[in-house]
Symmetry: C2
Subunit: 105 residues, 2 copies
């Protein structure tokens, strides 16, 4: 998770998840690890980058909007989303974006 994702030539898609956590773990750490493992096994998954201080930013990369929709509908992921709403996040924002250019060193 501390590596920069090795993504293919654009276009592809990014889901930018920005969040603030509530206090305490309450099952969050284990579920977060499980969601990364589960996402990585979904069709169309390209990579993930995740960092948290006070604010957390997780960016996952996908080959298509369809793959993102399928991941969002995954039963185990839906349960995590429900618990996220209910207890783990005080606020969050999800942004789905089409990556058009990429460069770096």
């Amino acid at each position: 998770m501390s590596e920069i994702a090795k993504t293919p030539e654009p276009p592809y898609y990014a889901v930018i998840f920005s969040s603030h956590r509530t206090k305490g773990d309450d099952g969050y750490g284990a579920m977060a690890d499980r969601m990364v493992e589960l996402a990585a096994n979904q069709p169309g998954f390209l990579g993930i980058e995740s960092v948290r201080e006070d604010l957390g930013i997780t960016v996952s990369y996908w080959d298509s909007l369809e793959s993102i929709t399928n991941w969002k509908k995954n039963a185990e992921h839906r349960e995590a989303q429900r618990l996220g709403h209910q207890k783990w996040y005080s606020s969050f924002r999800v942004r789905v974006a089409r990556v058009e250019r990429e460069y770096g060193i």
Copy 2:
């Protein structure tokens, strides 16, 4: 910088900057603060979110590709980019993406 950006209804654009730093500050902290201040005063700037552990992720939001291009060409920012290449980052990736959907709590 620790707040979730208050962005308008999509579409708009995101620049996802993922990086690993070299060791030591060497002027980085002051330049990073200055770049946030400078970006916030550019035409078309919509917001910024930034987090660093080992990996750093900074996402800046913009109203158009033209605003991103203008920001990239800003003289003071170009000098920061040059120093970033030369000494501050061991690796980085810049991804320019069009935000198509947004939701949250």
